[in-house]
Symmetry: C2
Subunit: 299 residues, 2 copies
C-alpha cells in the first residue's frame, strides 16, 4: 500500500559521547523515509533550501523514495545542532535555524493524495491537520508530536488526536499530555482522547503499545553500540509504518510485529551518525536481528 510522510529535512550538527559530526543529513522525514524504504516505496513531502545537494536527492531516490512532494524554496535548509549527555538520553539543543522550514506549508502533490498510509512526523498540529485535509481517503493515519506543541497548541493537538488512527509519543510527551506518571495509565488516557492505538516510546527501555484490547510492552534491542540517538524515534516510526504498508490489515498482532520491526531499524540507526549505518544494511540484516530478538523473547 502507498505510504506518505510529511516532515522535516535538515542538516544536523551533533555531539555525542562517541564523537561529533557537522552538517550531516537529518530531519524527521529523512529518517522515517529511509527506514520505511526497507519495506516499501515511500512518498515524501517536505521542504529544502537551494543549498540541498543533488547527491542527497539521489540517495533518497535510489531507495524508491518519491520526491515529487519535495519543495525547493529560496534560502537555506533547516539546521539543527545539539548534544547528548553521557547517558545518551538527555539531549540539549544548541541552535535551531528553521530557515525554509519556518514557512513550510505542505502541499501534497495530486499524485500523493490517494496515499493509504500517512505518517505526520513532528510538526505543528495545524500543519499536520492541513496535511490530513489533503489526503482523500487514508486507511491508516499516524502522528508524532513534541512537548512544544503540547504546551503551546494543546487544543489543536487534541483535535489532531481525534482525527488520527494512531499516535507515536515518547514517555515525556505521554505524561505531559495526560498528567499520569504511570505510562500504562498515560497510554490508556491518550487512547480515550481519540486514537485507536498509541505507541509510547521509552528510548533504551523499549515501548508500550496501547490498544482497546490491552497493553503490550516490547523491550529495545539490547546493545551497547550507541553512537548517535538522533533519528531513533523517526526511524522506529519508519520501520513500523513501512512494515504495516505491506500488510492487508492493521490488527493488534501486526501492530506488535510492526513495533518490533521499528525497534530493529532504530537499533541499527543509532549505531552511527546520520543515515550512515542504515546505508550499510539490508532488509536481510533487519530480519536477522529480528529473529535474534524474537528468540530472546521466547520465554
Amino acid at each position: 500500500m502507498s505510504l506518505v510522510v510529511v516532515g522535516s529535512i535538515a542538516f544536523d550538527s551533533v555531539e555525542t559521547p562517541s564523537g561529533r559530526a557537522d552538517d550531516i543529513l537529518g530531519g524527521s522525514a529523512t529518517y522515517f523515509a529511509y527506514a520505511a524504504s526497507f519495506f516499501t516505496a515511500v512518498r515524501l513531502v517536505g521542504v529544502v533550501g537551494t543549498d540541498f545537494p543533488p547527491a542527497y536527492r539521489d540517495l533518497l531516490e535510489s531507495r524508491d523514495i518519491d520526491l515529487a512532494g519535495l519543495e525547493v524554496a529560496e534560502g537555506r535548509t533547516f539546521r539543527w545542532s545539539g548534544a547528548y549527555a553521557d547517558d545518551m538520553n538527555t539531549r540539549t539543543t544548541r541552535s535551531v535555524d528553521l530557515n525554509v522550514f519556518g514557512e513550510f506549508d505542505p502541499k501534497v502533490p495530486e499524485a500523493f493524495r490517494d496515499s493509504e498510509l500517512v505518517f505526520l512526523a513532528n510538526g505543528s498540529p495545524q500543519v499536520q491537520l492541513r496535511v490530513l485535509d489533503q489526503i482523500t481517503r487514508p486507511r491508516l493515519t499516524v502522528a508524532d508530536t513534541m512537548n512544544l506543541w503540547i504546551e503551546t497548541t494543546r487544543d489543536q493537538t487534541l483535535e489532531l488526536m481525534r482525527r488520527v488512527d494512531g499516535m507515536v509519543l515518547n514517555d515525556e510527551e505521554a505524561v505531559m499530555l495526560t498528567g499520569r506518571r504511570n505510562l500504562v495509565a498515560a497510554g490508556r488516557r491518550v487512547l480515550a482522547m481519540g486514537p485507536k492505538f498509541v505507541v509510547v516510546k521509552k528510548g533504551e527501555h523499549g515501548s508500550f503499545l496501547v490498544t482497546p484490547t490491552g497493553v503490550a510492552a516490547l523491550p529495545a534491542y539490547p546493545t551497547d553500540r550507541v553512537v548517535d540517538p538522533t533519528g531513533a524515534g523517526d526511524s522506529f516510526a519508519g520501520g513500523m509504518m513501512g512494515y504495516l504498508a505491506t500488510q492487508p490489515v492493521f490488527d493488534e498482532p501486526r501492530l506488535r510485529k510492526a513495533i518490533a520491526y521499528g525497534t530493529m531499524v532504530a537499533s541499527f540507526n543509532v549505531e552511527d551518525f546520520s543515515l550512515n549505518r542504515l546505508q550499510e544494511i539490508t532488509r536481510e540484516d533487519i530480519d536477522r536481528r529480528l529473529a535474534e530478538y524474537t528468540a530472546m523473547l521466547a520465554v
Copy 2:
C-alpha cells in the same frame, strides 16, 4: 532441588501515592521465600526479635518455608520506614532500626548445609561470604547487593562477585559498580568481574540478562496497578530462583524463563502492601499471567 535464602525479616512502614501501611511484614528474605514458595520448598535463614508474632511463623510455614534457620534473638525485629514519590520509582528511607538484625551473624543449620541453590539477599558482603562458607557444595549461588555495600565495602563486594554464580543488581548498582552508563555495557563488565550471569533490574522497565553468550532484554509486565513497590526486587528473585530449583540445569533459556517467572511474581507483589496480594494468588494465576506475557512477546 533444595533452596536456601539468607536475608532480612522486617516490619515495614510504607507510604506510597496509593496509601500507607504501618508495621507490616516485610524484609528481603520474607519476600523472597514467599515468592519462591509458589515453585518449591524454601529454607530460610534470618533473625527476628521476641516481638515476632507466631501468626507470621505460621503463615510462612504454611507455605512449606522451613524456619529451622530462623533465629529468635532478645530484642526487637528489624524495622524500616520509607516513602515512594509520585512516579513510584524514587524511594526515601525515613528510618531504619536494625535492632536484632544489626548483630545478625547467620548460622546455617546443619540440615540446610547441603542446599543446592543459595540466594544471598541484600546484606554486607562479609556476612554473605560467611554464609557461602557454610554451604557444603552448592550448585547455584546468586547474590543481591546494594549501593551502600558497593560504596563502603567495595573490595569485599568484588570478592563476593568472584565467588557466586550469579548477581542480581538494579540499574543504579550496576552503574555504580562499573562506571558504565550503558546498562548492557555495565552488565558485560560485571560479568568480567566473576559471575557467570548477571540480571540487571530496571523496575518498571524490565530487566537484562547478561551471560557469556549474549544479552537478553525482558520487559516488565505492563500494569498501572502499582500500590507498593516494596519487595519487588526480592519477590522477583524468589520467583526466579524458585523456578530454577525445579529445573535440572541452569542454561540460558531456563534463566530467561526464570526471569519471566520472577517478573510475573513481582508484578503481583506490587499490587498491594506486604504479602497481601501474593496471599491471594496461586501458581495457576502466575502461569496464566505468564501465558499472557508470552503471547504479548510473540512478534
